[in-house]
């Protein structure tokens, strides 16, 4: 089987991740932050170690500002709904996933906020960081509270210039929330250097954790209202959640196996640099693009953005059928809208959807050669 759906979840996981999950369940999976017994303590120590690994990986010196949830969508909901106040204005990019678009639009439909969508110039030949920032600046109002942007798209390899956008947000006093669902582990991110207020990511994609390990890294001055209340292991006699992260946002039992798997995934990643991973994936992208140019009915969208994700259609064959035929050839890809109607509207694929190929660190050129042969055969049907 050839797995090319790493934007949905990475597969396979490094053996060290599997070993850590096994070790956790066999040896130390107590409930962290609750009891004072050995297993609870060991579990808490491993969770704390993962907070440290994440903080260090993303340029934060505050592991206590790293909090865990079940996935990236939960984190984004906590931040968006915990920071937005009545009358606020919000800016999002034209490539946002529904994990941002839906909560923002829901707040608008309730009459609580307004929002605008900035043009990230994915299809423009004159794209530059400055022009993207100009587009954002034109939308800023006196009541603009926050800007939320996906670092890298989940349907093509376009990415945003975080440092420049972060500097712009800082100049206007705007909270800058970054969704790193597709960039964590693929592109370099430093929350301090990029002036990021809050970074959100899943653990199970480019960071190689198992599913169930979303997290946020908060800047020191970001303290969203609490969205989910319940047991936190501290101040149990109080009716209120703790006043500081991470426990403030971690009501209920954490998924310790998922969290420690994420820690093991980051340790695995640190054997090389993120730049090296990006280079590897970019090499695969370029090779595949060259191969696909040989197949006349294939159209690749936003091909100039080189990275880990490639979106295409075969003229005359619905995307779902292409994905189904590839699956029969033992190749896993994803078709449809990828929970990203904004992105598909931006790329002009809102009527048809498209087929997404997403590489991971474990893919090799021979995988693409198999894909090419299969697509060549499919395109002749």
């Amino acid at each position: 089987m050839i797995y090319l759906d790493n934007a949905a979840t990475s597969f396979p996981k490094p053996p060290s991740v599997l070993r850590e999950v096994e070790r956790c369940i066999e040896n130390y999976c107590g409930n962290p932050g609750r009891g004072s017994h050995t297993l609870s303590r060991r579990s808490a120590e491993k969770v704390y170690e993962t907070r440290e690994l994440i903080a260090d990986f993303f340029g934060s010196s505050s592991p206590e500002n790293v909090f865990f949830t079940y996935n990236d969508t939960y984190v984004l909901n906590i931040l968006i709904k915990g920071l937005a106040q009545v009358g606020d204005h919000v800016i999002i990019s034209d490539m946002e996933h529904n994990s941002v678009y839906r909560p923002i639009d829901a707040l608008k439909r309730k009459g609580l906020i307004n929002y605008d969508i900035f043009n990230s110039m994915c299809l423009s030949e004159n794209r530059s960081a400055q022009k993207i920032c100009d587009n954002i600046r034109a939308l800023i109002r006196p009541n603009t509270k926050m800007l939320i942007a996906s670092h890298a798209s989940n349907i093509c390899s376009a990415s945003l210039p975080l440092k420049e956008i972060g500097t712009l947000c800082q100049a206007y006093g705007i909270i800058f929330i970054v969704d790193a669902a597709q960039s964590a582990g693929h592109l370099p991110i430093d929350i301090k250097k990029m002036n990021i207020s809050a970074l959100c990511a899943p653990g199970h994609k480019g960071l190689f954790g198992i599913q169930g390990s979303g997290f946020a890294v908060l800047a020191d001055d970001i303290l969203p209202e609490v969205l989910i209340e319940g047991g936190s292991g501290v101040n149990s006699l109080s009716t209120e959640m703790p006043d500081s992260p991470p426990e403030r946002y971690e009501a209920g039992t954490l998924s310790v196996p998922a969290i420690v798997s994420l820690g093991a995934g980051i340790k695995h990643l640190r054997r090389q640099t993120v730049e090296q991973i990006h280079e590897h994936e970019s090499g695969l992208y370029k090779s595949l693009l060259t191969m696909l140019s040989d197949i006349p009915r294939i159209k690749v969208y936003a091909p100039d953005h080189v990275g880990s994700t490639l979106l295409f259609n075969i003229d005359g064959i619905p995307c779902e059928r292409v994905a189904d035929m590839l699956d029969r050839c033992g190749i896993c890809v994803r078709s449809g809208y990828h929970c990203s109607p904004l992105g598909h509207r931006t790329l002009g694929t809102l009527d048809s959807g498209a087929v997404r190929i997403s590489f991971g660190a474990f893919n090799e050129k021979k995988d693409l050669e198999q894909l090419y042969l299969a697509l060549k055969k499919i395109s002749k049907k």
């Binding site: 292991g233 501290v234 109080s238």
Partner: protein, 80 residues
């Protein structure tokens, strides 16, 4: 640690206690993370670090440098 000479710094949560323990370990100050008993835990379920009382001044400096907020210091059960 002799209980008469053991001091405790109470923290917002076990996460902060673990961070404190790490910072103290880096300064070669022995400590351990503990769950606080009722007398030191008025809102219920609190955590802190125990350390030798003779190190209190050093502990204050290390935790302050690491920006770890201590709620209270205790010697035995007595707030100091």
């Amino acid at each position: 640690m002799n209980s008469m000479l053991v001091c405790t710094a109470s923290m917002a949560s076990q996460t902060y206690a673990l961070k404190a323990q790490k910072a103290l370990s880096g300064a070669a100050i022995p400590s351990r993370v503990v769950r606080l008993d009722g007398a030191k835990s008025k809102k219920g379920c609190s955590f802190g670090v125990e350390f030798p009382c003779g190190q209190k001044r050093n502990v204050e400096n290390v935790l302050s440098s690491a920006r770890i907020r201590v709620k209270h210091y205790y010697q035995g059960d007595v707030e100091i």
